[in-house]
């Protein structure tokens, strides 16, 4: 007998991802958000103009893309509805770990606060928050990690690689001292 399966057919099915599980409510929210995004995109694409005399207009390709996205999203929702109950259940919690929120909040904090306090200060703050949320270290270790990361990244990116890092309203940074 011949081997009739292709290598990709032989890939073992992936386990459901560990950790936080997107429950039906989250799944629906994501689906609806993506559908709304796709529909809004399609409306704007149509307004750009599908055809321009003898050639495709600026909206031609986006209309195709928006249609593809909407059809696939709806198709996937129908497929999941049809296979509901047959797919493997998640292994863990449906509660979003708060550490994920802290990681995302760190990125947001950098975006919002770097023009105000500058790179050095905001980096120290977010490293402190991240390290304290992931472990229980003595305060002096947290301080060393925060200062070391802030100064090290300022020197690497700002001084060595020439990236213009924001020194904030108070001008705290190696760029303004050197």
């Amino acid at each position: 007998m011949t081997d009739t399966t292709t290598p990709e057919d032989r890939l073992p099915a992936a386990d459901p991802p560990a950790g936080w599980h997107a429950g039906p409510g989250v799944q629906l929210a994501v689906d609806l958000t993506l559908l709304a995004l796709g529909a809004g995109y399609l409306v704007l694409a149509v307004q750009l103009g599908f055809w321009d005399e003898d050639r495709p207009g600026a909206g031609f390709y986006p209309v195709l893309v928006g249609t593809l996205l909407l059809v696939c999203l709806v198709g996937d929702m129908i497929r999941r509805k049809a296979t509901a109950g047959t797919e493997r259940s998640p292994r863990r919690t449906t509660r979003l770990p708060w550490r994920i929120v802290i990681v995302l909040a760190s990125v947001l904090a950098y975006l919002v606060l770097v023009p105000v306090v500058g790179h050095l200060i905001i980096t120290m703050l977010i490293v402190t928050a991240l390290v304290m949320s992931f472990s229980r270290r003595p305060w002096w270790q947290v301080v060393i990690a925060a200062v070391g990361t802030a100064v090290g990244t300022d020197l690497l990116f700002g001084e060595l690689l020439g990236v213009r890092l924001d020194d904030g309203w108070f001008g705290i940074g190696f760029g303004s001292w050197m």
């Binding site: 007998m1 011949t2 081997d3 009739t4 399966t5 292709t6 290598p7 990709e8 057919d9 032989r10 890939l11 991802p17 560990a18 950790g19 936080w20 997107a22 993506l34 704007l44 750009l48 050639r55 495709p56 600026a58 909206g59 986006p62 893309v65 928006g66 593809l68 996205l69 909407l70 696939c72 999203l73 198709g75 996937d76 497929r79 770990p97 550490r99 994920i100 802290i102 990681v103 995302l104 760190s106 990125v107 947001l108 950098y110 975006l111 023009p115 790179h119 977010i126 490293v127 991240l130 390290v131 992931f134 472990s135 270290r137 990361t149 990244t153 690689l161 020439g162 990236v163 890092l165």
Partner: protein
């Protein structure tokens, strides 16, 4: 002889101390990040890509390529020592690599993995070097219709290989294509989907997308794990890494088979490194005289797959450098690095930038040698990285991801996109939407759009225009075969109600 002298030019170029430094730095940093479980080559490249932007194109590209190869090498270390794959293409290595470690043969497994990676990497570059010029001359005949056919081929075949349902994969493709249309339209000059925001006129920066979807999303996944303590890892003295003659006799054919198999898979769109490791493992199991050892520490089970994933890395360079098409996520990131340095890979790359091309080829050869040196005597250094506490590591990765993205253009909007893409990447993993399909579609979007529009203009209403051109017709036929063959074969097999001996072996595994 031309090839030899061109390669000599490349080696002369990388003797420049600055380039050598970047080469060593790239493979070192790539190995370090690759060793850490969870980050993987794509995450490593995404996080470290911005480090190359401040350099000149030669040094920048060498650094990026070094990171790619280093991360690919490093992935096996945690698979073998911890049984935790550093990345998807090292999953198969855990099947026999970790049992070897438990049997006190971790050193041999690491050595064979390093040697296999070196042989595959070198063979891959050698093959790339040999076929680059003839293939470039052939690809120079490509016009928009051929590029359209190739882009469609890549995206359609990817839908077969990316895993998950076709609908969810194409939803990811649609999202990637959608994101790529934000900004000025290259043909009409119209501002699209900017909502009046001047920051969006230049479009969404690829670094923010890549670092967000892979880098930040990986950090979020790592953040879910409750333990922040460093892992206990056994020490691996250099003496324990010397393979016996039997080890070498069994591993050598597997290494060469894996290398060639991997190179072949690298030419196909999709997660070639991952697929090639499974293909290599099952091939070795089928050919081996020691089938009973598989899953318990068969050396072929480490040698074949580890060679295959590095062979695939070499193979995937062919469509990237010769056609300018990234067929998998790492090459999508490489093309982002190329673009930021103002280098356009494609059929004219060798003719337009001969020194850069051959410098890159020589750099790939040298990177493999440096990696072998790093991964044999210095393996103890890399294994000690597995002891770095996770809290410090994650904090550092988050800061580097933010700064790397911000540093690309110095615009806060990129950090905003990083955040959005991080959330999107995380949700994609949780909901089961392919991130690879998303990033490939995002990177290939502009090419797909321009070639589609130009083909429509050239076709002048002729519906059979694509099929009337020999090269595009061949690509379309191959696409149809690749998409339909597995379905047809499965139907035939189901009708015969046949189960092959190999399938039974796999079930047993």
């Amino acid at each position: 002889m031309d090839v030899i002298s061109d390669l000599g030019t490349g080696f002369a170029a990388i003797m420049d101390p600055a380039l050598l430094l970047m080469l060593v730095l790239g493979v070192l940093v790539g190995s370090i990040v690759g060793v850490l479980p969870g980050v993987g080559p794509v995450g490593a490249m995404a996080l470290l890509l911005p480090l190359s932007f401040a350099l000149d194109p030669g040094a920048g590209l060498i650094l990026i390529a070094g990171i790619y190869l280093g991360a690919q090498y490093g992935g096996s270390t945690s698979s073998i020592l911890l049984g935790v794959p550093g990345e998807a293409s090292s999953v198969v290595t855990t099947l026999d690599g970790h049992p070897m470690a438990r049997n006190g043969r971790a050193g041999v497994a690491l050595a064979i993995s390093a040697i296999g990676s070196f042989v595959a990497g070198t063979l891959g570059v050698l093959l790339l070097m040999v076929i680059a010029k003839p293939l470039s001359s052939f690809a120079a005949q490509f016009a928009p219709p051929e590029y359209l056919a190739l882009a469609l081929f890549a995206l359609l075949v990817l839908s077969r290989l990316a895993g998950g349902s076709i609908f969810s994969t194409f939803a990811a493709v649609g999202l990637g294509l959608m994101l790529a249309t934000i900004g000025l339209d290259s043909t009409t000059g119209a501002a699209r989907f900017t909502l009046g925001n001047a920051d969006l006129l230049q479009g969404v920066e690829v670094t923010a997308v890549a670092v967000g979807v892979f880098g930040i999303a990986e950090v979020l996944l790592l953040a879910e794990e409750s333990s922040s303590a460093a892992t206990r890892v056994a020490r691996v003295p250099f003496r324990s890494m010397i393979p016996t003659r039997t080890d070498l006799r069994r591993a050598t054919p597997a290494i060469f088979r894996g290398s060639l198999l991997g190179f072949g898979f690298g030419l196909i769109p999709g997660p070639s490194a991952v697929v090639s490791t499974y293909a290599s493992y099952f091939l070795e199991k089928r050919l081996s005289k020691h089938k009973d050892e598989f899953g318990k520490g068969a050396i072929e089970g480490v040698a074949g797959p580890e060679s295959a994933n590095n062979g695939a890395a070499g193979g995937s360079m062919v469509p990237l450098l010769i056609l300018g098409l990234p067929f998998n996520a790492p090459t999508a990131l490489l093309i982002a690095g190329f673009t930021i340095h103002g280098v356009i890979p494609g059929p004219l790359f060798i003719d337009n930038e001969p020194v850069l091309f051959w410098t890159l080829i020589a750099g790939l050869f040298a990177a493999n040698v440096v990696l072998l040196v790093f991964n044999l005597p210095l393996v103890g250094l890399f294994t000690s990285l597995l002891r770095v506490p996770k809290d410090l590591l994650l904090a550092l990765i988050v800061v580097v991801a933010i700064l790397g993205t911000y540093g690309t253009r110095g615009r806060p909007v990129d950090v905003f996109w990083l955040l959005v893409m991080g959330i999107l990447g995380y949700l994609m993993v949780k909901i089961g939407i392919s991130r690879i399909a998303f990033i490939l579609a995002f990177v290939m979007g502009p090419l797909l759009e321009s070639s589609l529009k130009q083909t429509i203009v050239l076709a002048r209403g002729d519906a059979g225009y694509l099929l009337g051109r020999p090269i595009s017709m061949v690509v379309i036929v191959i696409t149809v075969i690749v998409l339909t063959l597995p379905i047809v074969v499965r139907r035939i097999a189901a009708r015969r109600n046949a189960t092959s001996p190999l399938d039974m072996e796999i079930d047993a595994t």
